[in-house]
């Protein structure tokens, strides 16, 4: 292994989990999400010489991921996701007993997945991955005003959806139940 490759693996690979987490919510098929992340790393490696060590590699990788995502023509994107209710380590009822707001994880995820690609993307990157508005503008090649308005609209859309009982949540649960029965 060359020292450059070792450097790439050391600095870039620890972010694959974050990238995969976002990719899984951009494309409906888990295998396609992995392909998207692999494509991101291939592009990143090929342009790693242009990357300046010490700058924000995580933001750089996300920028490449979105370029790859849009280059693929968002195949199979924005399909309503079925929330996996029995993924290991995932308890949709967690905290329900504590009486916390938004206790139902399936409802919150359904509200996130119901957003448009543009709104879901900025919400995921800002709220879950912790990027700032300036970083988002850089990652998505958008004016900062557009990032801010997408964040505001995305936030409002999620809250509007969660304010009223949502039939789509029940639909998602029913689909998940059907899928489990078919698999089982």
């Amino acid at each position: 292994m060359t020292s450059r490759q070792a450097e790439f693996e050391r600095d870039a690979l620890p972010h694959s989990r974050s990238l995969l987490r976002v990719a899984r919510r951009l494309v409906s098929d888990p295998a396609m999400a992995e392909d998207l992340v692999q494509e991101t790393y291939l592009r990143a490696w090929r342009s790693f010489d242009q990357f300046q060590t010490g700058t924000n590699i995580r933001a750089w990788l996300f920028r490449i991921l979105f370029n790859a995502f849009y280059a693929q023509g968002r195949q199979s994107s924005a399909a309503p996701m079925i929330v996996s209710l029995d993924a290991p380590g995932f308890d949709p009822g967690a905290n329900r007993q504590a009486g916390l707001p938004y206790a139902d994880a399936a409802e919150v995820l359904a509200a996130l997945d119901a957003l448009s690609d543009e709104h879901r993307t900025v919400i995921l990157l800002a709220v879950v991955e912790g990027f700032t508005c300036r970083e988002l503008a850089d990652i998505l090649s958008l004016p900062i005003g557009t990032v801010m308005s997408r964040l505001s609209r995305g936030r409002q859309a999620m809250r509007d959806r969660l304010a009223a009982p949502s039939p789509k949540v029940f639909q998602a649960r029913a689909s998940a139940g059907r899928a489990q029965r078919e698999l089982g």
Binding site: S16, R21, E34, W45, Y102, L109, V128, V147
Partner: protein, 263 residues
């Protein structure tokens, strides 16, 4: 600043990106406008829950990491073959390389995203050197001595001797973060330790991304080096928590501190 400004600037405020003057205007508006405060509170609650739910979902990166490593090995092999076949025009590559490096340096400087605010960086550094690495300092353990030092830096409340979850005040001293004096208190439950920095609240807020909500107060948090830092403001105090543990721990400790400080 009116309600419409608040609505427009909320994304920058929540991300901790407003400049100090506008952040202070934002804070001042929230103090007097319960409607905007409730709006931000509801948003912070939803976002904290969304973050918790998405991060709790299992993402197995092992397989994709294996695929990436295999791909890198193949790419390196192809590169090695190409290098052997490439004509030796290294001076052209070198000149282009220098130009590109210069351009990236300038562009990188101009585009570099906001750095961690100096007060948080100082808090993280103090926690690392004085609490984790145990650099020798003149700590006070006597409650009366600690109270006297708190008063010296304008902290006019009784520094909580105990917090929830079995944390108790172990020691404290005066320190300086970003040019201001703070009381640096260390709390421990016998296994974990964290730092709580307190000063009298003034016009200058603690600017960082909003990451939670506790006891009617917004919790802000960021990472600085290996440390995680969280902050909140009470009616009279500004408080910063620093820990070497993960981000969730910094927020949990800030919640404990916030719950114990009523003013």
């Amino acid at each position: 600043m009116n309600c419409s400004d608040i609505s427009e600037l909320a994304p920058l405020y929540v991300a901790g990106e407003l400049d100090a003057a506008r952040a202070a205007g934002f804070d001042a508006h929230l103090k007097t406008c319960s409607s905007c405060f409730r709006e931000l509170e509801a948003q912070a609650k939803l976002e904290a829950r969304l973050r918790e739910i998405v991060l709790a979902q299992e993402v197995d990166a092992a397989r994709v990491n294996r695929r990436i490593r295999e791909m890198l090995a193949k790419e390196s092999l192809v590169e090695a073959v190409k290098r052997l076949e490439r004509p030796r025009r290294r001076w052209i590559a070198a000149t282009a390389g220098i130009a590109a490096a210069f351009f990236l340096l300038v562009a990188g400087y101009l585009l570099l995203p906001g750095r961690v605010s100096p007060v948080y960086a100082d808090a993280a550094e103090d926690h690392q050197s004085e609490v984790i690495d145990r650099a020798p300092r003149r700590w006070q353990t006597d409650p009366a001595e600690i109270a006297a030092r708190a008063r010296k830096v304008g902290v006019d409340i009784t520094v909580p001797a105990a917090l929830g979850s079995g944390f108790r005040l172990e020691r404290a001293k005066i320190c300086q973060l970003d040019g201001r004096l703070y009381l640096h208190a260390v709390y421990t439950d016998g296994t974990h330790e964290f730092s709580l920095f307190l000063r009298a609240r003034d016009q200058e807020g603690l600017n960082a991304a909003v990451r939670g909500f506790s006891n009617g107060r917004l919790l802000r948090a960021c990472a600085s080096g290996k440390e995680h830092v969280a902050s909140f403001s009470t009616a009279r105090l500004s408080a910063i928590v620093a820990t070497g543990e993960p981000a969730a721990a910094s927020l949990a400790y800030a919640k404990l501190a916030s719950a114990a400080i009523q003013d």
